[in-house]
Amino acid sequence: VRSNNILGKSLLALLSSDKIDESVWDEVEETLLLADLGTEPTMQLVDALRERVKILGTRTPEQVKALLREELIKLVDPTMDRALRTDRHADKPAVVLVVGVNGVGKTTTVGKLARVLVAEDKDVLLGAADTFRAAAAEQLATWGQRVGVPTVKSDVDGADPASVAYEAVKAGIDQEVDVVMIDTAGRLQNKTGLMDELGKVKRVIEKLAEVDEVLLVLDATTGQNGLNQARVFSEVVNITGIVLTKLDGTAKGGIVVAIQKSLGVPVKLIGLGEGADDLAPFEVEGFVDALLN
């Protein structure tokens, strides 16, 4: 069962009552807050909606329902370019760097995305630049085996992640693959040492090839801290897209709304499970409908 608000009534059921009074607006606010939209975007949205309802003289619940959905869709912005840049350049592979805080689903996303690219007939190579967490490289290599692509990793525990990334991209260039995907260690954005290390990983790769995508993986259960995450990672490695994982649970991932708005970085993919096929493109309407239900 998808989550309802605390009174057990869904928002839509509420709006079906034929009077739009204060308690209805409270419930609208609550629904948005419960989706992790955050207080500021929620208040803005409610204000905008109230204004429109006033101007339009809307009275029927059906219309208000449609207006809220419309406002949200506008906010999440269907016009953003959400295409992944994974096409090989003339003489070099496309490079995708995957980053994020601990445990959000980076390694799993690399595995799933490799599967998608293989299905598009691309030659893919994985680089295990998480040399830190216990068995991280093995985990990635297992994903590589699952989807039938090779993994470059270091045999030394605690090797320099930048040099593993370098070796992987170099191997990708030599082997003329289409895409090299680099998995990195989870790191909290307030650890400056680890963030500097990530910046170095990217710079070292750029000595060999352009980095086409820097994907920030964000766990849908994340609350308001998600905005800090996106902001700091963006400063350090200039993220080009967001992957919102674990949407198969009850969390709505509403923090991405504020992230997209303040950083202009689109959500490109969503994670829907632990299996190799549980990755899908982000769709604004589907996201908004799930958020309201």
Binding site: G103, T142, T221, N225, T250, A251, E274
Partner: protein, 315 residues
Amino acid sequence: MFNSLSDRLTATFKNLRGKGRLTEADVDATVREIRRALLDADVAVPVVREFTARVRERALGAEVSGALNPSQQIVKIVNEELVEILGGETRRIRLAKTGPTIIMLAGLQGAGKTTLAGKLAKWLKAQGHSPLLVACDLQRPNAVTQLQVVGNRAGVPVFAPHPGATSELEHPAGDPVAVARAGVEEARQKLHDVVIVDTAGRLGVDAEMMEQASEIRRAIVPNEVLFVIDAMIGQDAVNTAVAFDEGVNFTGIVLSKLDGDARGGAALSVASVTGKPVMFASTGEGVDDFELFHPDRMASRILDMGDVLTLIEQA
């Protein structure tokens, strides 16, 4: 984007300064700021509602005290209520009277269970126990290898009769319930006095996986079931905590990744909704980054209370 609570309360307090008594409107204005701060700290909506209602009631009924002005009184009330929900004193691990003490870990994917298993093991070992780690996550690729590495770092043996998901196989063949049971048996035979059972991450809504966790619990009858939850979690904390409480009836909470800059409102949500105590804080990736939970520190963190307490001195 977010101003801290102290900033917002400063503004509110300015208007209150010099007043001998709080009007209902004063209290409401302050409570509104507190509500906003709690929401910004990711405290769950229903918990915020209950909490602010209680603070409001107490603030309105508060005796006018000589030592504190009215706004200071509200802050004091907020602090007291927070610490109350978070639990006044930290509860220690319940040890078994006979046979090994069995500790089961459960939680969402990526919450920090496996890492915690190593930390707990090392901590208990330092206290003279001889723990055994049991690898029951046969699902996540190389979870078993991960626990072995972690056990190695903690200097504690790992019971791992099944390799788990290490091949191209999507669905692992091993039975985590059987591994858990065998792990406890192994501990008995090898005279380990603590068994720590690491389990796969699972979602609250995954009925099949939740049933598997219940089965593990029934099979080993643990002394403690620790629910590990990421301090960065938002509003979903309530759904998840309720689902795990129903599924495995956990006995204590561990808040992980507290070394980050999340305000950690989840601590309040989960403790308030389940009534279970937060026992430990996980504060890093290393095997020693682990401490007993401190409710007072958490209260300051959630509400940025350090600043606020300084502030009431100026108010």
